[in-house]
């Protein structure tokens, strides 16, 4: 009877319109109105998200098992692995929240995109090895049945690190650790380097380590003071450009907010307490601005150019077939630019990056900068290595942040580690217990000697 009434209304409206106006625009209006009416009826009928007062389909749900704050590569990686490793299908509801869906300031999209296994910490090497394995087999993990296969556009040209006299001993010991963990690295003297890459000027280079892209996935296989444990019950998700917010009740919160993880942690009350105590230990992750420059050099190194990191800290890689290169340099502590905005300082390139590049690769003496951009490192001021795992006091906040410039390369493996921590309670495949939050309170620095 209801349906009949609807048809009658619609039919009468159609006939009425048809008689009065014979323009072509009348029929679309009618179909729009019908679809609007259908939508309203559907929201009132059982089965949909029913709210008699207003339509909340644009807001996040009211309940979710895990809320991941931060939708960059680490947040999405944790979300993927949580769904992939959950035992019964559909067991966990995961909500990923990001404050900017255009990712205009997110470090993920602005990164230079290098991946290497030449670290000094064994955990870092293992993370990179698995991440390369993930990228290689990305179609097994992420392919959708009817879509074309994914192409990551990966350049397996290897990673070349140069060391001067001072750094040569450190590089040798690093290479030993890397080989032990299974990475394929080859050490070269300046003569061998000159033979292999004739466009390099080996002045000042004592040793070079060239890392082939290896892919492997190995299994690997502890004060009677009173502490108050806290729990996060709700996450208030505020919508863009409006005063609406949705309190999402959740069991776990994962802080993958990148450069802004410190602020998110403060919202949860981490660091509010007398300094020197566990309550007063803040999450030492803050945004640091880094510049990336894109230039063109017609006489530059050829197709075989690896990702090269110079002794001075300047690095570059080739992009595409057209003699275009991307690169930059990390500033020293005194020269740190203000992270308030993402404005690019072109003088930095002239004074600090170009001289080193031109010294190392004479062909770069004549180059033309095409464009430049700036992005944030989620810089861990304590020891420049990531923070993974739960917070000791705020029991349901997990961290997956602070990777200071090597987050993108380790994201798949870190996502898996955090998902294992959430689902099983401990790390199953790669043991990252040295990267837990408690090291900030205990003062145990886990230093990485190869930070670019």
């Amino acid at each position: 009877m209801f349906r009949g009434a609807l048809w009658l209304l619609a039919g009468r409206g159609y006939v009425g319109r048809g008689l009065s106006t014979r323009s072509g625009g009348s029929t679309p209006d009618w179909t729009e109105k019908v679809s609007e009416i259908k939508k309203k009826i559907q929201s009132a009928l059982p089965g949909g998200p029913w709210d008699p007062l207003y339509d909340t389909s644009h807001l996040p749900p009211e309940h979710s098992d895990v809320v991941i704050v931060g939708g960059g590569v680490l947040g999405l990686s944790v979300a993927y692995w949580l769904k992939r490793l959950e035992k019964p299908r559909g067991a966990i509801k995961v909500l990923v929240v990001d404050r900017d869906h255009t990712y205009s300031q997110a470090s993920t999209g602005l990164s230079v995109g290098g991946i290497r296994q030449q670290f000094s910490l064994p955990e870092n090497i293992q993370l990179s090895l698995f991440s390369v394995d993930f990228l290689r087999n990305i179609n097994e993990y992420l392919a959708v049945v009817d879509d074309p296969p994914l192409d990551v556009q990966f350049n397996p040209s290897g990673y070349l690190l140069l060391a001067s006299e001072k750094g040569a001993a450190i590089m040798e010991s690093n290479v030993k650790v890397q080989r032990q963990e299974g990475a394929k690295v080859c050490l070269m003297s300046p003569e061998q380097l000159q033979n292999k890459f004739p466009w390099i000027n080996t002045d000042g280079v004592a040793l070079a380590s060239y890392g082939f892209i290896t892919s492997s996935s190995r299994m690997q296989t502890s004060s009677g003071k009173e502490m108050t444990l806290k729990r996060i019950h709700e996450v208030h998700v505020k919508m863009d450009h409006s005063l609406e917010y949705q309190p999402v009740e959740c069991a776990l919160v994962i802080n993958a907010a990148g450069a802004w993880s410190g602020q998110v942690a403060e919202l949860a009350g981490i660091g509010k307490g007398p300094p020197g105590t566990l309550e007063g230990t803040k999450l030492p992750v803050e945004p640091r601005k880094r510049y990336v420059y894109f230039w063109h050099c017609p006489e530059g190194p050829g197709l075989e150019t690896p990702f090269m990191a110079d002794t001075s800290g300047a690095y570059f890689r080739r992009e595409g077939l057209g003699h275009n290169y991307l690169g930059g340099c990390s500033p020293t502590e005194e020269e740190e630019p203000d992270p308030g905005n993402l404005e690019v300082d072109h003088d930095f390139f002239q004074d600090k990056v170009w001289p080193h590049l031109a010294h190392r690769v004479p062909a770069f003496q004549s180059l033309k900068v095409r464009s430049a951009w700036a992005g944030y490192y989620d810089y861990n001021t304590f020891d420049q290595n990531g923070v993974v795992g739960p917070h000791p006091l705020v029991v349901n906040m997990y961290f997956a942040t602070g990777f200071s410039g090597h987050g993108l390369q380790q994201a798949p493996a870190v996502g898996r580690a955090v998902a294992e921590m959430v689902l099983e309670g401990q790390f199953q495949t790669i043991n990252l217990s040295s990267l837990l939050f408690s090291r900030f309170y205990l003062g145990e620095k886990v230093e990485e000697r190869n930070i670019i």
């Binding site: 392919a143 296969p149 350049n155 397996p156 892209i213 050829g302 197709l303 075989e304 077939l321």
Partner: protein, 272 residues
């Protein structure tokens, strides 16, 4: 999910009639979309019935979880089939040595092997049996023809152990991609001839890894559909490997000739 473009897709049951059709048979996964593969699918036009079947399947997948799960399961089965074929036989390697293991692997996949001083052995030949390999225990392999085989990154382990390999033919292999090329540096001392013609997954980024192969004298990179700019890539590869003869796209491919040069086109020498 309103707009889904209906792509020309080749179904699994197509008989292998020509070399190009066999490519589709071996790698149906990679031919579900034609966006990355140019030129190969244009030669194959599916009939009306098959196209309608594909459209119906896609319609059902979009709307029913069961159909989606079933198709996902079949997809995973195809992937694991390729993995199974590329298992490395460590038992054979330990007992008979790397040459026999490598030869057994290649012949199992359907390729051909040439031991030093002997003739080519093909698995499809009349009278071939794996036991005749046992007589060649200490003889190194000098050439491998793995064309049209389903060899992938893991399977390459067997070939990388052959330290005296001089010629490697990987034509039209559907699973050989840039990552596989990045492993070939282990054969740099001995490899003199390499052919990658017709591999659908190799792009110019993989070709950049070939610069480690300094002893290479002949390289064939013709007909690589995933390479974005064949002429320019050929020039860059020739620069990268100065002592190597690179066969492939003519460098003038894609360039538009002016009117007065068109008449001279047939007479101009094209580098082979």
């Amino acid at each position: 999910m309103g707009e889904t473009t209906w792509r020309t897709e080749t179904p699994v049951q197509q008989p292998a009639s020509t070399a190009r059709h066999s490519l589709h048979l071996v790698a149906p996964i990679w031919n579900l979309g034609t966006s990355g593969i140019r030129g190969l699918s244009s030669a194959v036009t599916p009939e009306g019935n098959q196209r309608k079947g594909r459209m119906l399947l896609q319609f059902l997948t979009d709307r029913f979880y069961d159909v989606e799960a079933l198709r996902g399961y079949l997809f995973q089965k195809q992937v694991s089939k390729v993995h199974k074929e590329n298992r490395s036989s460590t038992g054979i390697k330990k007992q008979y040595g790397p040459y026999i293991a490598g030869a057994y692997f290649v012949l199992k996949q359907g390729g051909a092997v040439k031991f030093q001083g002997k003739e080519w052995i093909r698995s499809t030949e009349h009278g071939y049996s794996p036991l005749q390999l046992l007589s060649f225990q200490a003889v190194p392999i000098e050439a491998v023809d793995a064309s049209d085989c389903a060899i992938n990154y893991e399977g390459l382990d067997n070939l990388l152990a052959l330290k005296e390999l001089q010629s490697l033919l990987l034509q039209r292999c559907p699973h050989v991609d840039d990552w596989c090329l990045s492993r070939l540096h282990q054969l740099a001392n001995s490899l003199q001839e390499l052919s990658l013609a017709g591999c659908p997954r190799i792009s110019e980024r993989g070709l950049a890894c070939l610069h480690h192969l300094q002893n290479l004298r002949r390289l064939d990179i013709s007909d690589l559909p995933a390479v974005s700019n064949p002429g320019l890539t050929q020039i860059l590869v020739e620069e990268m490997l100065p002592r190597c003869e690179v066969l492939g796209a003519e460098w003038a491919q894609g360039l538009k000739l002016g009117p007065e040069e068109q008449s001279r086109d047939t007479a101009s020498p094209i580098p082979a």
